[in-house]
């Protein structure tokens, strides 16, 4: 049987893993290569690396790290952050990424989704979305969740899949960093509208949050950062717990 996936996310800046709460107050956590090895041993099903650097020099540092990780860890790697052009796709794929996650780049230029899907295949293109309720409507946010685009987030998800996005990362700004559980209302709304894998992000605080997540139809993976980085939840323990709850996981 196909399994539900547990995915730790590593935000990388200046060659180090960082994680903020509600996207503010970023703190240094650890070395990305060591962290990746640790998660691989723990049973992570996939790793996501977000490059949150700005300068060209730091971008080089990021791809060096990616290359090192991909030379030692043989599970799927998704890379996001600063992906705006097909050249950006090319740059990270050549360094060992399997999938490329596009977020603000697709807001600036929605055609990038279709162009990348055509060149590298749908399976390679992950559309990542930061979503927040504004006056009761799900809105798409840009720039790491700081800017309301005014775009209807549910329609954006549907359009993205129709253009060729092979997976969606749905990050709820409302629940991110709060550790009160995933945004199931938002996830259900998206799962009802698309037929590609959905990776839920934002809000995991305890193991029960994951079992509740996977009881909802159409959710394929749970992504989290700080609870794994700070070892509040060990991935191995989480997977054993999920298996006991009747959720199919890779152990």
């Amino acid at each position: 049987m196909i399994t539900k996936r547990i995915i730790p996310c590593l935000d990388v800046r200046n060659g180090r893993v960082v994680k903020g709460k509600n996207f503010e107050g970023i703190q240094d956590v650890s070395d990305p290569v060591e962290m990746a090895k640790f998660y691989n041993r723990e049973g992570a099903d996939e790793l996501v690396f977000y490059d949150i650097t700005a300068s060209v020099e730091e971008r080089g540092l990021f791809t060096d790290i990616l290359r090192k990780v991909a030379s030692e860890i043989f599970i799927p790697l998704t890379v996001g952050g600063g992906i705006n052009t097909l050249e950006d796709f090319d740059r990270v794929l050549k360094c060992g990424a399997d999938k490329v996650s596009v977020n603000s780049g697709a807001i600036r230029n929605p055609d990038i989704i279709g162009q990348a899907a055509k060149k590298y295949g749908d399976q390679c293109v992950v559309l990542s979305m930061d979503i927040k309720r504004v006056d009761g409507v799900f809105r798409l946010f840009a720039k790491g969740g700081r800017e309301n685009t005014g775009i209807d987030a549910l329609q954006w998800a549907v359009d993205g899949v129709n253009s060729g996005a092979g997976e969606l990362v749905v990050n709820s700004i409302d629940t991110d960093g709060v550790k009160g559980g995933f945004d199931l209302e938002l996830l259900d709304a998206i799962a009802a509208r698309v037929n590609v894998p959905i990776i839920a992000s934002g809000g995991a605080g305890k193991m029960e949050d994951f079992s509740e997540l996977f009881s909802h139809e159409g959710i394929d993976a749970g992504l989290a950062a700080s609870i794994f980085h700070y070892k509040e939840i060990r991935i191995e323990d989480l997977k054993k717990y999920l298996r006991d709850q009747g959720v199919e996981v890779r152990l």
Binding site: I2, R5, K94, G96, G121, Q123, G166, D220
Partner: protein
Amino acid sequence: MIAVIDYGVGNLFSLTASLKYLGADVKVTGEKEEIEAADRIILPGVGAFADAKEKLDQTGLVETILEQTADGKPLLGICLGMQLLFDESHEYGVHKGLGLIKGKIASIDEDLKKAGIAGLKVPHIGWNSLQFEKDEPLFRYNKPGDYVYYVHSFYGTDCEESTIATSEYGVTITGAVRSGKVYGTQFHPEKSGEAGLKMLKAFMEV
């Protein structure tokens, strides 16, 4: 030396990195002489069947692959590389494959619909458990139930005599095939963690 056939299809970073990690001497090549000199051949591939087959034809290496495998040289096709080994594919039309594995490539989506199964997403993406008979050389270091990583929308059918491993996804997915020393895996061993590394190690020893 293991020759990884370079015909302009897919990302070879992880495949070459995993083989090097296992201590193999790897050459990514489109040269006939290097493939002839190799101890083993790997045919990788992602994307659409027809496009990949056309690119492979353009390299002029098909004949070399057929000669080398006829001489008993081990070959491993991965993902689309496995599908190319089949007689034919029904992915957007009917296309001829290399004919090294008897059977045809069919659509998972269509077969799920025919079977009346709803609620499964296509592509089949993610980790699925693999069932196999213990005495297969490729799985000598693995145990049945090991999880492997799949990403595909089409799959091998009518290939019972070559099937050596399967996974369940509404329909029975052909996970791996073998005919003589010609092997194919639908999943990506180079992305399947320890379980996949064990299979690549086993392939280096067949």
